[in-house]
Symmetry: none
Subunit: 241 residues, 2 copies
C-alpha cells in the first residue's frame, strides 16, 4: 500500500523544506519522495532538517520534469490554493486521502504533487492532475509552509490507511485505470485530430484544450476507455484524410 504512494515536490526553492518534507513522510509511514528539478539538492540543510528521515532523502528520485515523475501513475492529485484560475474538481484533504488509499490498495500508483513554495503549481502542472486538493486554511492568512502542507496531507493518508487496514478489503471498483502517459497520448491525439478537422485553431487556442483535459481528468479514464476513444479518433483521421 504505502509503497504505491509517492510525494512529488516540484521546483522546491529551499533545501530545508525538502528535508522537513522527508521527515513528514517518514513520521506518517511513507517513504517515496520524488523531486522535480529542485533548486538545490542534495544540500546540507536538507539533510539537517530530515533528522532521522535521511534514508527517505537518500532514496529520493530526482527527475528534470513533472511528466517523468507521473508517467506510471494512475491517480494524480495536485495541491492548490483556494484562489484558482482553473475550475477543476477540488477536494479537501480527508476526501483526498480516501481516494489515494482506495487507488493504492488496488496496486495503482498514486502521486500527490506539491508546487514551489511561493508560486505553487502552475496551470500546466495542475492540468496533469485528476483532482486538486486544498487545505481549508484561514481566509486571512493561508500560506502554509510547504513541509507543513506535506505533513497535513500525509497525516490524513495515514489515518485513511489505518482505517482501511481495520476494515475488510473493499471489492475493487471498475477496470484498470490508464496511466498518465496513456492519457497524455490520448490528449495529443485528440488535439491533433480536432485541429485537422478544423474545430481547433492553434493560433487562437482559447480554453478548449484545458476544458477537454479537465473533462477527461474528472472521468478518470480506464485503459479500455482510452482504447475506445483512440479507436474513434483513428476512424476520424481516416475519414478526414
Amino acid at each position: 500500500m504505502e509503497q504505491n504512494i509517492r510525494i512529488v515536490l516540484v521546483n522546491t526553492s529551499h533545501p530545508g523544506n525538502i528535508g522537513s518534507s522527508a521527515r513528514a513522510l517518514k513520521t506518517m509511514g511513507l517513504s517515496k519522495l520524488y523531486l522535480v528539478a529542485p533548486e538545490q539538492f542534495p544540500h546540507a540543510k536538507a539533510t539537517a532538517m530530515a533528522a532521522g528521515a535521511d534514508d527517505v532523502l537518500a532514496n529520493a528520485t530526482v527527475v528534470p520534469s513533472l511528466p517523468e515523475a507521473l508517467a506510471d501513475c494512475q491517480l494524480v492529485i495536485g495541491t492548490s490554493a483556494r484562489e484558482r484560475r482553473l475550475s477543476w474538481p477540488l477536494i479537501y484533504p480527508r476526501e483526498c486521502a480516501h481516494k489515494v488509499v482506495e487507488q493504492a490498495a488496488g496496486q495503482g500508483e498514486v502521486a500527490l504533487v506539491f508546487g514551489q513554495e511561493r508560486a505553487g503549481l502552475d496551470n500546466s502542472a495542475l492540468e496533469q492532475c485528476h483532482y486538486h486538493v486544498t487545505i481549508p486554511s484561514s481566509e486571512e492568512y493561508s500560506a502554509l509552509n510547504l513541509a507543513a502542507s506535506v505533513q497535513v496531507l500525509c497525516y490524513e493518508i495515514r489515518l485513511a490507511i489505518l482505517a482501511q487496514a481495520s476494515k475488510a478489503q473493499a471489492p475493487s471498483r471498475g477496470d484498470p485505470k490508464a496511466t498518465q502517459a496513456e492519457v497524455e497520448q490520448l490528449y495529443q491525439h485528440l488535439f491533433s485530430t480536432i485541429e485537422n478537422i478544423g474545430f481547433f485553431d492553434p493560433k487562437n487556442p482559447g480554453k478548449v484544450q484545458s476544458r477537454l483535459r479537465r473533462l477527461f481528468a474528472r472521468a478518470h479514464l480506464e485503459k479500455l476507455e482510452v482504447n475506445i476513444l483512440r479507436g474513434i479518433l483513428n476512424a476520424v483521421d481516416d475519414k478526414s484524410r
Copy 2:
C-alpha cells in the same frame, strides 16, 4: 470561539520552531500563543520562520512556568508520544479537536500544550492535563517536528470549528451541469457520428455504447462541455460527408 483556544509551547529549544508554530496557528485561524520559559525568545530565527504570522509572535504571552499559562483554563490537553509512563486518558487529534471546540464554544478557555522538542512534556506537566493527545505516527519513526505537530493539531481544530459553525461548505464544483436531456442528445449525436465514420456497427454493437455512456456519466458533464463535444462531432460530420 478561536480566541478561547491557546497553544502553549513549553521550554522550546529552537526559536525557529516558535516562529514556524506561530505560522501554523495563523494559517488555521488561531492567534493565541503562550510561551513557557522559551530558551531563546525573541529571536531573529523565530521572526524569519513566522513569515506573515509575525503578529502572532508579537502578541505571544511569555510566562515563566506552566501553571501560569493554564490558570484560567477549563480544559487542558497535553501532547504525548505513544510511549508514556503515565496511564492517562489518551485521545487522537480528531477527538481532541472536538473536545477543544465543544469547550471553546461554551466560552471556556482551552489550552493545548506542547513539550520541549526532544523530551516532550514531563510527568509534572502531563499531570496538569485532562487528556493526552497523540498523533498516530509510524511505529518505525514517530518524531514529528514540533511545528509539524502544532500544524496537525491546529488543522483538526480548524476542521472542527468549520463543522461546528456549519461553515464547512464543500468547495465549488464548477460550472452548471448539463441536463439529462442535453446529455442524451449528445449520446445520440456521438453514436450516429461513430456509425457514419465506420467505428461502430449497429449490427454488431458489442458494449461500446454502454462504455461511452458510463465514461461520460462518470464525468458528470457541464453544459459548456456538451457544447464543445457536439462542436467536435459537427466538425467530424462535415468532414465525413
